[in-house]
């Protein structure tokens, strides 16, 4: 728990890549045997009722064992004027860049390619992977644990306060399977901002990624992820977050691309006083299908969580949002809220909204709400009466609609998300 072995911030060489430890090889073997014994999920499985995996040709991706990781470059020192405090960039499974500012405030921060982390002690990765493997039941999760190839390992030491974001860029250039894994740990009392950008013009990649976020006692993590892959790619993105006593997690996700995006965010409020704010935006056009699930799980008293997911759908796209608030027996004085909003923008889109509550304690405040509808004609009329053409009026309203999710973000990221929304607005199909 206390401190990790700091990596020599030596600009000359990266860490010596160590072979995979036994526990990891055993885990991959176990995943492999379970994978072979498990069938692909179908619509008869409750969890996959609203997403038919049939048309996407997944078995052919599975047959490839994923792109092998290449040796990692050395870590460079970022200038103090760099907008990022740290950066880790990948093109497919190859790490193309690693950087970290040398300020005193970043002493002890570990930002490594995950696949090169085995030489270090106390990374906690064995426990992280073991926990993940326990709950890996379906074929996609087992595939990930068998074949993940690259990713990020970020550890922020106790008390460290990072005011500028750390960015992880995952760029998909080649078609085929890509299986990244991101592990972020904030030790007690630390603060960090993490931005993950998943982009690419690979035309037909299948991304099967996992994120493990561990927010320590009284630590605070602001995490943003943007997904904007090409219109033929598939994304399966599974995130688990644990927030310890008095910890705080602010998680924002934006889904703006790919043909299919299936995302899960499971947030465990694992101590009294823990707080989580989960925001999401999704904008599906053409024939995109977006299926998002979130869970706010309260196990301890006095924790609070809020989820706000706003989506828009157009043309023949379809979106599904399922959000669960689960309050266990001893989680008194829980304060939990979940809201899902869906905006339908013409064509024949479909939006499914399934907010659920599973409550086993009576001393709480808990509610959820969901609304689905179209742009209010009077709002559009108001803007058009000011001289804006219809399309522009509509665009302005949509931008304003998503602002509720974007406004809280650091300005640079906020601007990028706004541009992403604009690109969706004008996308043809």
């Amino acid at each position: 728990m206390s401190g990790t072995t700091a990596v020599a911030q030596d600009a000359g060489r990266g860490p010596v890549p160590a072979p995979e430890p036994d526990w990891l090889r055993n885990l991959r073997d176990l995943a492999s045997s379970r994978l072979d014994a498990t069938a692909w999920p179908t619509r008869a499985d409750e969890e996959w009722r609203r997403t038919d995996l049939g048309p996407y040709g997944l078995p052919s991706f599975l047959a490839e064992s994923g792109l092998a990781a290449q040796p990692t470059p050395a870590q460079r020192t970022l200038e103090s004027g760099d907008p990022w405090a740290g950066s880790l960039r990948y093109r497919d499974a190859t790490c193309t860049d690693r950087g970290l500012r040398a300020d005193a405030g970043l002493a002890g921060v570990l930002l490594l390619p995950l696949e090169a982390s085995w030489g270090l002690a106390n990374t906690g990765l064995e426990a992280v992977f073991a926990r993940g493997m326990e709950s890996a039941r379906d074929k996609l999760s087992l595939w990930h644990y068998r074949s993940w190839s690259h990713g990020a390992n970020l550890i922020v030491p106790a008390g460290a306060e990072l005011t500028d974001p750390i960015v992880v860029d995952l760029y998909l250039g080649a078609p085929g399977a890509s299986l990244p894994h991101l592990a972020v740990r904030l030790e007690p009392g630390s603060r960090a901002i993490v931005v993950v950008r998943v982009r690419g013009e690979a035309v037909g990649a299948a991304l099967n990624g996992r994120v493990d976020l561990d927010v320590g006692e009284a630590a605070s993590l602001r995490y943003v992820e943007m997904h904007e892959l090409d219109a033929a790619s598939l994304v399966f993105w599974n995130a688990r977050a644990t927030v310890a006593r008095d910890g705080r997690l602010e998680h924002t996700s934006a889904v703006l691309g790919s043909l299919l995006h299936r995302g899960e965010l499971d947030c465990l409020l694992a101590g009294p006083g823990a707080e989580a704010m989960l925001r999401g935006l999704y904008f599906a056009t053409g024939r995109q299908h977006v299926d998002l699930r979130t869970a706010q799980r309260h196990l301890f008293p006095r924790a609070s969580s809020q989820a706000l997911f706003k989506g828009a759908a157009r043309d023949e796209a379809s979106t599904v949002f399922q959000g669960l608030i689960d309050v266990a027996e001893h989680a008194s004085k829980t304060d939990a809220y979940l809201a899902n909003r869906n905006l339908l923008l013409g064509g024949t889109p479909r939006a499914d909204s399934i907010p659920s509550l599973s409550i086993r304690n009576d001393d709480l405040r808990c509610s959820h709400g969901s609304t689905t509808g179209k742009i209010a004609p009077e709002e559009r009329f108001y803007l058009m009466s000011r001289g804006l053409p219809r399309a522009e009026a509509q665009a302005m309203i949509v931008e304003g609609y998503f602002e509720e999710v974007i406004a809280h973000l650091p300005e640079g990221i906020a601007a990028e998300l706004r541009e992403g929304v604009l690109r969706r607005l004008v996308a043809k199909g």
């Binding site: 304690n361 405040r365 969901s370 609304t371 179209k374």
Partner: protein, 477 residues
């Protein structure tokens, strides 16, 4: 060859009879033979049931097809815990005369005390407990029948309806809930017995709520009631099922099917107060089809039973139709109330309102399960769903599983759900006025349910309030 009869009745069913003198319930009933099918269910049992009712061939075939569907369908993989249901250990049909022979002394104390507390008239108590000596409803019923038949309203049991109005029955029976719909609808379609058949001619308003109660004989509390209500154009009828008094039943599974057809401009309100005894599994399929300009209102109160799964639904298939579903559920010790409602919009300019209130106490589990679906290509569809759950102690649970499936864009769909406990401030206020905590809690709970209770006919509302009081004291299991 196994025979579908009691072991000690040797001749074929049609030949066994009990003399009128031995029939002590005092009702008129076309066939007084003693008849009971053996335990378990197979095609022979189904055929025997149909034969005993003297049904036409088409109904017998319908039952057999439904039976085959029942066998082939799986149990639901969701909902209340049904693991202890044993289909082979049940008797699926017993003639009413035989069914409720029991003496007043055998009636459990709690039941007798409940009658007292709720204020059930003495004359009704014995009847409700299945002891059934005299019951005066026959007189009431006869007067009502004359008035109704003058207007052309049909109000009878489905067996009679098949004999007297076969065309009407054939046109609508099984069209709202096909036997393939789910396992329990299939079961009911195979072994149904009793229930109500109502037909209201065009333009006729039935001002008195029709109650199964009037027509009561023990078939009305049957396991597999089948109710079909057809409200012709611009008519109105209000039907009330069940009553607040606990129904003491030795049968463990009650699986009814209720179909409602509301033709253009008609309005149908169907009120249920269910208070089955605490060992009953109550698995019901209720659905209405609302044509253009029609309104269907479900008022559904679930207080009793061990497990209830029931989701009254309205399919809005005509322009301008409207649906309202009001649901109250009270889950006490050992109970699971898995209830809610479904509104499926298949026409433009339609609207629906679903209001569900539940209370969980002493380890009970109350779940709301609902569907709001809007089909493609519709305009001007509005819907609002509100679920409120009250948890009275830390042992109880509640779940909310609403689903919204929206395939048209010109809609306004809102859903909200809240879970809370009795507010400390409200309790303090009432207690500072001299009420005990129990009295204050009860008053708050009654207030919580008030918007729905207001929709009930007054005598039900009063009884329901008293019943809630009883539940709050925990003296009714």
């Amino acid at each position: 060859m196994p025979s579908a009869r009691t072991a000690d009745a040797a001749p074929a069913p049609a030949e066994v009879s009990v003399g009128v003198g031995e029939y002590e319930h005092g009702f008129s009933y076309p066939d007084t033979s003693v008849f009971r099918t053996r335990k378990g269910l197979d095609e022979e049992v189904v055929t025997a049931i149909s034969g005993h009712k003297g049904e036409p061939e088409w109904m017998r075939q319908y039952r057999l097809r439904a039976y085959r569907a029942f066998r082939s369908k799986p149990m639901p993989s969701w909902g209340a815990d049904l693991s202890r249901l044993d289909f082979e250990a049940m008797t699926y049909y017993a003639k009413p005369v035989d069914k409720q022979r029991r003496s007043w002394e055998d009636v459990p104390d709690e039941i007798r005390r409940t009658f007292e507390r709720i204020g059930i008239p003495e004359a009704e108590r014995r009847f409700l407990a299945g002891v059934g000596a005299q019951y005066d409803s026959e007189v009431v019923y006869h007067n009502l029948r004359e008035e109704l038949s003058r207007k052309g309203v049909v109000f009878s049991d489905p067996e009679t309806a098949i004999r007297e109005h076969p065309d009407l029955v054939r046109r609508y029976f099984g069209t709202v809930i096909p036997y393939l719909d789910n396992k329990f609808a299939a079961l009911n379609s195979a072994v149904w017995s009793g229930g109500s058949f109502i037909y209201v001619p065009p333009g006729v308003r039935v001002d008195v709520p029709l109650q199964a109660y009037f027509r009561i004989n023990s078939a009305s509390f049957g396991q597999f009631e089948r109710t079909l209500i057809i409200a012709d154009r611009d008519s109105f009828v209000h039907y009330i099922e069940g009553c607040t008094a606990p129904i003491y039943s030795t049968e463990s599974l009650h699986s009814a099917v209720v179909e409602i057809v509301a033709l253009e401009g008609a309005r149908v309100r169907y009120t249920t107060i269910q208070n089955w005894s605490s060992d009953v599994y109550n698995l019901v399929t209720k659905r209405a089809v609302a044509h253009a300009g029609a309104t269907v209102e479900w008022v559904d109160g679930n207080i009793g039973s061990r497990r209830t799964m029931k989701y009254p639904s309205v399919y809005l298939v005509g322009r301008g139709a409207h649906a309202e579903i009001l649901s109250i559920a009270f889950a006490g010790k050992g109970q699971e109330q898995d209830t809610g409602g479904k509104a499926v919009h298949a026409a433009s300019d339609t609207s629906s309102v679903i209001t569900a209130k539940s209370i969980s106490r002493d380890g009970g589990i109350a779940s709301y399960r609902g569907l709001l679906a809007v089909k493609p290509g519709l305009t001007n569809v509005r819907s609002r769903v509100v679920c409120d759950a009250l948890l009275l102690d830390e042992r109880s649970s509640t779940n909310t599983f609403p689903t919204m499936e929206i395939e048209s864009e010109d809609v306004s769909v809102e859903h909200e759900a809240r879970v809370s406990r009795i507010s400390e401030d409200q309790l303090f206020y009432l207690m500072s006025r001299g009420l005990s905590e129990a009295e204050a809690s009860t008053m708050i709970v009654n207030g919580f349910l008030d918007p729905l209770v207001k929709q009930l006919p007054m005598e039900y509302a009063v009884e329901l309030n008293r019943l809630i009081e009883l539940q709050m004291e925990g003296s009714v299991g």
